[in-house]
């Protein structure tokens, strides 16, 4: 019996298999077309710009484009002794073009970041070029070297050579307090200038402890909400949901009022005699403020996933555990707690991800010792305008978050996120 005789045909004579596949394909396209507008919109306005952040963060084409002839000649240079006449000449011609385009200042500034002292010697060279003092018929090397003694120093030429590659990892190195030393090796910055590493560690520390506090405070109330009869739990749920729906800035403002030196919390401490009136502790503009405010603000994100998991656990399981001879503690630890682990995972990861990227609250109540890596990114975006460094730091933070997101997806699944 051959397979053809077994083939089932639809009414119009097409094999059923083909017809089904066609329908399946049509459905696939239909489903995809529904998703397409949002997907396209997000890819254009969101995913690509994040990719652009990456190219911006490693981009170092400015000098590469400014000194094309120089870098071509430098390929032959060993980098040990002063470069040859050709390199000097190429640099001079590149520089002349820059002077015509009035971009020599930018070159000086950028090179000055690589090695101090470039700004003044490019200005000196600029004046010579401007007054046409340099005779192109005789040795250009001799004349450039006469402009300033630093042009005779091989270290400055090595610095120029280091800027040749169009891409650099230096912004990422700067983000972890390292830099390329003169010989091209990766070096740590001086101990007293390692600010970024402190910030990364502080961000992790604050995110970790805020998650821990949220867990310790969220678990009992989620349990209470899940076990109380509906009519009471609905009422108490408002205590969780109202802060959740209230503006972040309103909640931060209320903490600023509560925690200030003449604030309600300090008043209370004085009233119960914990501290004396003239010795009120600073609770704001430091880590304490950041911890307290962030814990309260992120607590609903811990309670809600925990609650939705606990709600599904049948109370008879605990009763069964107890009836089989377990004390309430054993029953809780061996039966109830393991069942809540998916909720704990979801809540902790959610709070941790949110805390690690927090910006507003630390900026307002954190002061100097409570600021996080996000504040540094905003600082470079708005104040120093070093956008490539801000992008590099942002992407370092993002990669951390994506790792956590990936774990979250493995453990809980993104489609299991529940809201309210």
């Amino acid at each position: 019996m051959s397979s053809e005789t077994k083939q089932i045909l639809t009414t119009d004579g097409i094999p059923l298999e083909v017809s089904l596949k066609k329908a399946e394909k049509k459905n696939k396209i239909k489903a995809f077309l529904l998703v397409a507008p949002l997907l396209l919109f997000l890819i254009i306005t969101y995913v690509f710009p994040i990719g652009e952040m990456f190219s911006r963060s490693i981009d170092d084409k400015m000098i590469t484009n400014m000194l094309p002839k120089t870098f071509k000649e430098m390929e032959k240079w060993d980098g040990q002794e002063l470069p040859s006449e050709e390199v000097f000449a190429a640099f001079y011609y590149d520089f002349k073009v820059l002077v015509e385009k009035q971009e020599h200042g930018k070159l000086g500034q950028r090179l000055n970041k690589e090695k101090n002292g470039f700004n003044s010697i490019t200005k000196k060279l600029f004046r010579q070029v401007k007054r046409k003092k340099i005779d192109e018929t005789i040795s250009i090397k001799e004349q450039v070297m006469r402009v300033h003694k630093r042009w005779r120093n091989v270290e400055y030429w090595q610095a120029i050579k280091r800027t040749a590659p169009p891409y650099t990892m230096s912004k990422y190195l700067k983000g972890i307090d390292m830099y390329y030393a003169a010989d091209g090796s990766i070096t740590q910055v001086d101990e007293d200038r390692r600010i970024h590493r402190i910030l990364w560690l502080r961000t992790l520390e604050i995110a970790f402890f805020v998650t821990l506090f949220c867990f310790l405070m969220g678990y009992p109330i989620a349990h209470l909400l899940a076990t109380l009869p509906m009519k009471y739990s609905n009422l108490l749920m408002i205590c969780v949901l109202l802060p959740f729906w209230t503006s972040l800035l309103v909640r931060t403002a209320s903490w600023m009022i509560l925690l200030q030196q003449q604030g309600v919390v300090n008043d209370f401490f004085v009233m119960i005699g914990l501290v004396s009136d003239d010795n009120r502790p600073e609770m704001m503009y430091n880590k304490v403020g950041t911890y307290v405010a962030m814990t309260q603000i992120l607590l609903p994100f811990m309670v809600l996933p925990l609650y939705s998991v606990m709600k599904t656990i049948s109370p008879s399981l605990m009763r069964a555990g107890k009836s089989l001879g377990g004390t309430p503690f054993v029953a809780f630890w061996k039966v109830y707690f393991p069942l809540t682990i998916p909720g704990i995972g979801a809540g902790c990861l959610l709070v941790f991800i949110l805390a690690i990227g927090y910006y507003i609250t630390p900026a307002l109540v954190g002061g100097a010792s409570g600021t996080l890596i996000s504040n540094q990114i905003a600082f470079h975006m708005k104040q120093t305008l070093d956008w490539s460094f801000a992008s590099a730091m942002g992407l370092m933070l993002l990669s951390g978050v994506l790792v956590i997101y990936w774990i979250y997806n493995k453990l809980v699944g993104v489609d299991n996120i529940k809201l309210g």
């Binding site: 997000l42 306005t45 969101y46 952040m53 109330i221 109202l242 003449q262 910006y359 996000s374 978050v401």
Partner: protein, 284 residues
């Protein structure tokens, strides 16, 4: 939660400690919101409870900060409120349309690459806001939409759609697809089926997703800080500047209004959730 009479003493103690902890946590969650309320009626300029307020002296209370909020010349609260509402409304509409369509596609069992697409659509919710802010700012600056209402609305659509996608997908998970097939077999075209059958059933999910999107847009400050010019100032931006510079009680008057607004939103969200559960037959 009454304990049975046979409970041992040490479990009794544990139980009371547990209740005490819960009370403390609920207090910790909700009390900060109530500090703002009385202080916004303060007659003085300081953000502390004056002696008069502690003694409930009527003269210590006044509506001056509410008057300042509405009529004050220095405070652009009016403009900020107008901008906030316009931006939030358009961002909500955009998020609802794009998010609902995407959720319909995603919940179809024929959808290819469901996992990765879902992850992409949700990503604006997971990526730290500061990074979203930087990325969106680069895009808007490139296409010339920085410091425009359109730019901010688009940015808020990006941030708001994940909520709509999540809530509508959740509503659709309990959706009986045979009803749409029944409609189709009775001769209804897909658009008609969607409007008459699907939409009414998923409406609670759509609206509650829309509420999330509205609140996200209305509260959003990080991305707006990068995007907004003077003309596009919003309530959160005004609050942010106020909290950083001069902490005036006018901010508390605004905050009180915002708390009332969020209470209203909470109530509608709760009612919708219950209605949705009833429609989906979860709450029997």
């Amino acid at each position: 939660m009454a304990l049975p009479s046979y409970t041992e003493t040490r479990y009794r103690i544990w139980h009371y400690i547990y209740i005490a902890i819960c009370t403390f946590v609920f207090f910790f969650l909700i009390a900060p919101l109530f500090v703002i309320f009385p202080l916004s009626f303060n007659a003085e300029e300081f953000l502390v409870f004056s002696e008069g307020m502690k003694n409930l002296d009527p003269d210590a209370f006044s509506l001056r900060w509410y008057k300042d909020m509405i009529y004050g010349t220095k405070n652009p609260w009016g403009l900020a409120a107008k901008n906030s509402f316009i931006i939030a409304i358009f961002a909500t509409i955009g998020s609802i349309i794009l998010g609902t369509l995407a959720a319909l596609g995603l919940s179809s069992r024929h959808m290819p690459y469901k996992g990765i697409i879902m992850a992409t659509l949700i990503s604006p919710m997971i990526v730290p806001l500061i990074i979203s802010g930087v990325a969106i700012f680069f895009f808007m600056a490139k296409v010339g939409l920085a410091a425009t209402h359109t730019g901010i609305v688009l940015a808020h659509i990006i941030l708001g759609t994940p909520f709509v996608v999540i809530t509508v997908t959740a509503t659709l998970s309990g959706f009986d697809h045979s009803v749409t097939r029944a409609a189709a077999s009775l001769g209804s075209n897909p658009v008609n089926t969607f409007m008459k059958i699907t939409l009414p059933l998923i409406l609670p999910g759509v609206i509650s997703g829309g509420l999330f999107a509205f609140v996200t847009s209305f509260d959003e400050v990080v991305v707006v800080l990068f995007l907004a010019g003077l003309e596009n100032t919003t309530i959160p931006i005004q609050m942010w500047t106020g909290l950083r510079e001069q902490l005036s009680p006018t901010i508390l008057a605004v905050a009180t209004c915002l708390i009332i607004l969020s209470t209203l939103i909470l109530i509608s969200a709760e009612l919708l959730r219950r209605r949705s559960e009833r429609l989906r037959g979860i709450n029997r």
